[in-house]
Symmetry: C2
Subunit: 338 residues, 2 copies
């Protein structure tokens, strides 16, 4: 079906179904000049926004619209996770090229709504318009966090233990399948593909770590481990020493890299779009926090290094040598590549 | 200068200057995973978002980037005005085509920051990325309003007086200059051009009307008077009768239309992008509200008609005939034209 058959307002009515999953506190959703809602008293408000552009962030024929919608929502929820927060309301802007069928857009919104609903997030509004060339998707998420639990990038202190809530590099391997138009050959390769296509925001992990009050800084890994850790270095005014042999690399990524004769550490350090959290934890609490994390989530909180006073990001190689790391993550206007 | 010379983070540092104009209540601005701020206790939170797409909403060579930035911010502030609210924090996403010079983007952000600062609005974050074809700009604004002053589209009751806070149709005339690549020939034509290029959000008017507690419904005119009034008809479950000869048409629009042998009422009814407010006011308070409005703003609150129980939008022609109006405003996926 073509959009012009149902018109702008028909389309808005169509995609609005199922957007309001947590009505309490919502005074007005889609349909007025602005969305209107109540925020919990005494909590800090969090806002994050991400713009996805066709041919820059995705290829329309390389993923389903459901998966694209999932990812657009996931990257924003991941930012809220990195603050230790609870996401509450989402706002979706789409610019739709002529000829993009309504069924494609149904899938896009279903992908967003399904992940949002799983985390109790309402889609309360947005903007819908045409586009000449590319499909554009901007998602804004509003969330909340207790003032004494918020996790900034600036709180790390020398001696804190640097941890990851999951493995890194899988998403970059999954991107390989997308770019090469390959189907994952087995369940292991499917895991890598899904890590790229259907990233899971680590919201429960972020909330858990914030509630311990032992976490001192956090961010989510979107640009690549080395590039992202540099933000903690800069914002906290510390150094970070990462031990290469402690970086969690999945068995699937090792298998993938062995098959292509590639170095999994390059994928782990510079790959990007992992959407796991990097967190610094007070050294006197790390034992207890690590145990509780493992008990709660059934997998380890990976300790990859420690904050230092060097002012640099350093990598200790498996051979025991220390190198200063030059960030090699994603710059949208610069030079890059794994 | 090209963007790749300063990189993504250099660009963010560059445009971040002057974004924080009202620091109180702001815990984190640009530079963490999310912006963090405190909202006033006991107030409702408002969120609105608008997406501007090159070749759909603007032509890059038909306006300056400063004016484009102004308009992107203005249309969002206008939505907050229509709720009777106070805008507080803005979030800006831009997708930038290769070759778009840094100086162009400086102007774009200057246009946004200048209007935002005038209204005490911080730009607290956003997203910056590349684009293959078109320049894309998404602005989200968060604002607040007292619960007993919020203006919805749904509050109009039969008998309420329908008012406009300014003249309509000027913006559509200004668009004529843009589309025909004409320079305004004199101050009067410049006024029309500016109404389209540099719309002024009616924030003070919205706050004034909300504070009277005599306004029952409001919206801002973006799609066209007839199309927009239909939203009040639908959301409030009323009818609206507009008297054509009471629609405020500026002397400049009359002069413009006389010169081109066009009907100014067509421009006023269907033009769009006026960004004045349509407000319904309790009939027992209209005299006092109109007087106070005129005293405060030095121009009249235009009474163009009344809410009825007909369920239709009706136009009473200058000859005294009543016609049911079919909305002819903007549908991004439909057929249209003045």
């Amino acid at each position: 079906m073509e959009l012009r058959e149902i018109g702008e307002f028909g389309f808005i009515r169509r995609v609005s179904r199922g957007c309001l999953v947590r009505p309490e506190g919502v005074e007005r959703a889609i349909g007025d000049d602005a969305a209107v809602f109540v925020v919990p008293p005494d909590e800090l408000t969090l806002v994050t926004t991400d713009l996805l552009v066709e041919r820059v962030h995705f290829l329309r024929d390389a993923t389903t619209s459901f998966n694209l919608g999932h990812k657009a929502m996931a990257v924003n929820l991941s930012d809220i996770a990195a603050m230790g927060g609870i996401p509450r309301e989402a706002f979706v802007s789409t610019a739709i090229p002529a000829g993009c069928p309504v069924e494609y857009l149904d899938g896009l919104y279903d992908g967003m709504k399904s992940l949002a609903a799983r985390h109790g997030v309402n889609i309360l509004g947005g903007d819908t318009t045409g586009s000449v060339a590319d499909l554009i998707l901007n998602v804004t998420v509003v969330g909340h966090v207790r003032r004494d639990e918020v996790l900034y990038r600036s709180g790390a202190r020398p001696g804190d233990i640097v941890c990851l809530t999951g493995t890194v590099g899988d998403s970059r391997a999954g991107l390989h399948f997308v770019l090469e138009k390959l189907h994952p050959s087995d369940a292991a390769m499917r895991t890598l593909f899904d890590a790229h296509i259907l990233p899971r925001p680590h919201l429960e992990e972020g909330r858990f770590l914030a509630a311990t009050r032992a976490a001192t800084a956090a961010l989510d890994l979107s640009d690549g481990l080395s590039s992202d850790l540099m933000h903690i270095v800069e914002e906290s005014g510390v150094g970070i020493r990462v031990h290469a042999d402690r970086i969690p690399i999945s068995a699937e990524l090792r298998e993938f890299c062995a098959g292509l004769d590639r170095d999994p550490f390059r994928f782990a350090l510079a790959g990007g779009e992992d959407y796991v959290l990097a967190v610094t934890v007070r050294p006197d609490r790390i034992g207890e926090v690590g145990r509780d994390f493992a008990a709660r989530f059934g997998r380890p909180l990976h300790r990859i290094g420690e904050a230092t006073d060097s002012g640099h990001l350093e990598l200790v190689t498996p051979g025991g040598q220390t190198e200063i790391v030059r960030p090699t993550g994603w710059d949208h206007f610069g030079e890059h590549g794994v």
